[in-house]
Amino acid sequence: MGPAPAGEQLPEATWKSKAMEPALESTGKERKKATSRKRAVPGSPVEGFLQPVKLSQEELYKEPTNEELNRLRETEILFHSSLLRLQVEELLKEVKLSEKKKDRIDAFLREVNQRVMRVPSISERELTDQAWLPAGVRVPLHQVPYTVKGCFCFMPPAQVTVVGSYLLGTCIRPDINVDLALTMPREILQDKDGLNQRYFRKRALYLAHLAHHLAQDPLFGSVRFSYTNGCHLKPSLLLRPHGKDERLVTIRLHPCPPPDFFRPCRLLPAKNNVRSAWYQGQSLAEDGSPEPPTPHYNTWILQDVALESHVQFLSTTLGSTQGLKDGVALLKVWLRQRELSKGLGGFSGFLVSMLVAFLVSTRKIHSTMSGYQVLRNVLQFLATTDLTVNGISLCLSSDPSLPALADFHQAFSVVFVDSSGRLNLCADVTASTYHQVQHEARLSMALLDSKADDAFQLLLMTPKPMIRAFDHILHLHPLSRLQAACHRLKLWPELQDNGGDYVSAALGPLTTLLEQGLGSRLHLLVHSRPPVLEWDISQDPPKHKDSGSLALGLLLRPEGLTSVLELGPEADQPEAAEFRQFWGSRSELRRFQDGAIREAVVWEAASMSQKRLIPHQVVTHLLALHADIPETCVHYVGGLLDSLIQGFKQTSSTGEEALAAAVRCYDDLSRLLWGLEGLPLTVSAVQGAHPVLRYTEVFPPTPVRPVSSFYKHLRERASLLPRPDKPCPAYVEPMTVVCHLEGSGQWPQDAEAVRRVRAAFQLRLAELLTQQHGLQCRATATHTDVLKDGFVFRIRVAYQREPQILREMRSPEGMISLRDTPASLRLERDTRQLPLLTSALHGLQQQHPAFSGVARLAKRWVRAQLLGEGFTDESLDLVAAALFLHPEPFTPPSSPQVGFIRFLFLLSTFDWKNNPLIVNLNNELTAEEQAEIRSGFLAARTQLPIMVIITPQDRKSSLWTQDGPSAQILQQLVVLAAEALPILEKQLMDPRDSGDIRTVFRPPLDLYDVLIRLSPRHIPRHRQAVDSPAASFCRGLLREPGPSSLMPVLGYDPPQLYLAQLREAFGHLALFFYDQHGGEVIGVLWKPTSFQPQPFKASSTKGRMVVSQGGELGTVPNVEAILEDFAVLGEGLVQAVEARSERWTV
């Protein structure tokens, strides 16, 4: 029961040695486990820090060896920097297969080969007669329609060959797969097997028989079915070793036809191999119309045929050049991080290898290039080439019988023809997927060109799941609705081609439909690929609808979002009919101001948050109109978090409008100030210095209209006062505005006198504003409060030279030197840096309309975790700004939701110990300056706060994080963010689970020693709580403008006043945590070090008492009296004080 949290109360100076151990360790095992799992904290604490490098003079300047010079030159030519080179080498070491494992896999492969060859044959029988199949095995194929003519018999494969990346040495961890091609003996197949899925039926039966026999072998840990690349006509058999090697490798068996069995000319893209008569179960088409081509079906057969030749081709090209192989491995990592390589129609590792081979053949890549250069060149190629328009081909022959590229374009959306000239390698890749690849390649190239320090990290180590990468996500669920959609969209030929896979068939037309409808609002639309499922051999293969839901990700274009109008052609144009047909009943004729009468669609959206959700309206309307997908099947994830920053009773807006109204009022006020007559010095500049004026106040202010009976009046000073017998009045925070005056030599040069003159200016300002503009004003020595249109502004007059005067120090010799003092720094911060920051962020909001929402959600979350007071407003705003200014590897967020998710991601992954967060406002810092800042940071690490945020205006000191957070608070926030992120992402990505989105906003309370419960009556912002109370108290406000023009009660927030008292009286004994937005609980954490008995000292008896322990006198905190003090100090506010732990017992 000793004083517990070990990392909790460390003096500031020693945090570097011990801090960052998961703070608050003792708070329960679960939390601890989570921490250690999520963030592997390096073993010894000092190791976690980068030390400035110390090399002796001798070492630095010794003569270079040849080897060293060579390496340096190589680094310069082949890599971008030595750091990148080292990083790439490390990464490759990590993903490559070790020799030892290779040996084990090889041994296993030999075993497999023997077993497969020993599987007994069965005699010939009809394909439809499947009674011979043992009970434990099901055919891994949907046999629709069931009847197929033909016979099947089983014989061991004629040949077993290893194909794919394992042979090439480019397979990467995790999920090591070895592909084995089993060449079926010619006797199994018969003429015209390519027709009507007969080949695929035989292939499936072949696998079923194999599976039955292999499953009985104890060598294998698991024998399961899966689909080859997600293609549901082509199952494959997965074999995993038994015992501890189970995770080592997965062997995939792919049956394939003997070479030269199929006549290639029958499998060209324009040919039909699935007859409608057979597929639709009707007699021959009456009208004699030509059979539709089945390009995808043909490709799937061709893929099997070409398995071996592709491997041979790749091994001759990539063969023995290590650089190319490294490049392929890097590209695979790159694709994997972007979730592009998996599923049907993914941009697989095989495709990328082929692409490298293509670039080698066109001499764009040379075999001496390093892996990094290969990566770069491939990305460059992808970024600049559009394979949906200009396909590429590996085929060199000019045989006229081969189809032209244009023929391929007709049949497929993405074209990359292999060396045979007949097979499109990208047949399953949809246009959206390719555009996503292209988009990613472009982003990555921009990142590489920017020479950013952490390019490697962002490019290859940062995962980009859909929920984090796209602004809005849309789930279609259940998938069976797509079957109806296919019929509505008349996609019968596609269904026939895809063998009944309605998801794949509908995907292309649906994405095109939505892309057209979203038009200028959309930057990119991508779809999730159905995952490759695995199933037990005794089960039926999964249905198409079993692959969960289809998710579409929208990357929005912020400039297009603001328009509520879809402008169509003029009514008499022929396109008008088309437009009407596309938009259906939403299209209406409208007359515009320029006299034109046009077709148009108008969406209902009043506020910014509603405008952001117009894509939702568009999508549901178009899907219902054209694809028969009702609204209930569309689960749109775009504004689910909006409710957290919506004010009370303002469900239609997320506050951007209210903030803009406040800013407009401020603009009016500054105009008044500029035009003010009668001030001894004219106003030269008015600058905002409050979160409202940079759009980041969580709950924007509303105009105050006090009910006069609710307050006590102080008539002579025209002010309202709170009354003890009423609930606490509404909280009004004055918005700080800094007012600079023109320069003058008349100012006194003494700090005290300057303050008096400033006070005189404040008085005069109040007087003039009242006289000339009839505004209610109240002047104090440091500021003037002005009531304008219901908003209260706090004007602070600033004298430019005052910080300088505060800094001046006179040495004994009479030399005047300037030294920073706490007072001068504070003044400088409040009157110079804060306005600069405010205007920079105000500018950022104009560029990125989502900034406000992101920053406010982020602050709302941090405060809801009760950690708000550890962080300044500005520091959190800057972290949010970093998401927009340095979005790599993403694009700047266009919706608060994705921005908030990335905020959590940044918090949970950023290494604050070794990196400053550079927020390059207005792009003022050059790359060299940033490098300089980084090296300066390392040198001065020990003097800097734990969280360092650098801006162009503040390049050294990290002004906004100087007074906190402490290492422990930051660590706690990091842990909370790491916990919240997966929960939130899961909630948003799962359309079935409609869990409470506020879960991640509720703080854990079990870790506090004492909870102080407050009475809602005296919490003025009670309505802002995460779980907004159903009823609260009247706060003395009118709905309509009232007659009272008295100054409302300003900045009166009892919980804050209470906390200030608590911290002053007991700050040395405990930490206090509170959510300023309507929190009903104050969490108290005792500081364990102050609970050790200490010898009696006159200077440290605060709140302690003397006890004798074993005859010795010592002092310990007087906890019982302190607990009662909590109640005494907060009389009226405190409802209960709950001591929840006995950890303080000495």
């Binding site: 390096p42 190791e47 976690g48 030390q51 490098v53 090399l55 070492e59 630095l60 300047y61 030595s82 750091l83 080292l86 990083q87 993903v95 994997r336 990290q457 290859l460 180590m461 102080l714 006062l721 709170p722 003890p724 003494d750 005290e752 006198a753 003159v757 006070a759 005189a760 008085l763 002047a779 104090t780 020595a781 030399m815 005047i816 300037l818 290494d911 005296h1018 009660v1049 009166y1052 209470y1058 200030a1060 002053e1064 009286a1065 700050g1067 006159a1098 200077s1099 008896t1101 605060k1102 008492m1105 003397v1106 006890v1107 007087n1118 019982e1120 009296a1121 009662e1124 003090d1125 005494v1128 100090l1129 907060g1130 009389e1131």
Partner: protein
């Protein structure tokens, strides 16, 4: 907790309240309602020979651990039974000197929030100190007859007090500035008088206001001069002119690369330790 409290109460009754040598402890509570109490530690104020202290010896009582809700008036009322009191002063930490008598302007120095404090109580007679040391307590800060505000009531009255009176502020500013102007005018007159007049050793003082003003003696100015000198010298220097200069530049470049390489290696080492190279 209750059990412990009872035990402690029993112990207190047996041994008396433990107190450090030289001090006596008096329990103090906010009001009757509270159960546990804080302890004031009292001692007669005395300093070692030779140390200066403005507090009168023998008559001053030094009190530690005064709770935040206990004001000077309160303390004065609680100790008045011991004898007539001359003054009570609360301070944040022990301080031998009395604070300056001049009252601070309430406009420019707002009341700070209070925590635990120490007090110096000066009695009119030395007997008061002795009487106070033997007080039994528990003292009550807030009683029926003299209630002390806390919580919401205190905050409301604080808020009312913080609403300033502009007229009073104006008066204070005016009087301060008048005094200040006068002081400046006097200084200037004095400077004017001394202008051009050599002192005892024949030195003439030259100031900003003199007929031929001089560079102000500030650190910034002297730095500026140094910087200008340095630039001038740098302009004259030839770069990569001699062979040795060339060699040295090359070597310097190499050294930079080596240093960078070392730094990078360290960074990699750290990332490896943090398993930053596992892309899954």
């Amino acid at each position: 907790m209750v059990a412990r409290r009872r035990k402690r109460a029993a112990r207190d009754a047996e041994e008396g309240i433990p107190s450090p040598p030289g001090y006596s402890a008096i329990p103090i509570k906010f009001s009757e309602k509270q159960q546990a109490s804080h302890y004031l530690y009292l001692r007669a104020h005395s300093v070692r020979e030779g140390t200066k202290s403005t507090w009168p010896q023998k008559r001053t009582l030094f009190i530690l651990n005064v709770p935040p809700y206990c004001t000077e008036e309160c303390l004065s009322r609680l100790l008045s039974p011991c004898g007539p009191i001359q003054s009570v002063e609360l301070q944040e930490k022990p301080d031998l000197a009395e604070s300056s008598k001049e009252p601070k302007s309430k406009f420019f120095h707002p009341n700070p929030v209070l925590g635990f404090q120490v007090a110096y109580v000066v009695f009119q007679k030395p007997g008061g100190v002795l009487a106070a040391l033997t007080l039994k307590g528990p003292l009550l800060v807030s009683t029926e007859s003299h209630p002390v505000k806390s919580g919401v009531h205190k905050w409301i009255s604080d808020y009312a007090d913080s609403v300033p009176d502009p007229e009073a502020l104006r008066l204070e500013v005016d009087s301060f500035m008048e005094a200040y102007d006068q002081k400046i005018a006097e200084e200037e007159a004095k400077a004017k008088e001394e202008e051009g007049v050599p002192d005892d050793e024949g030195w003439v003082k030259v100031t900003r206001r003199s007929r031929r003003p001089v560079l102000p003696r500030t650190e910034a100015a002297s730095l500026r001069v140094l910087e200008r000198e340095k630039q001038k010298r740098a302009r004259k220097e030839l770069l990569n002119f001699y062979a040795w200069q060339h060699r040295e530049t090359k070597m310097e470049h190499l050294a930079q690369l080596r240093k960078k390489f070392e730094e990078d290696k360290q960074r990699i080492e750290l990332m490896r330790a943090q398993r930053k190279f596992r892309p899954y």
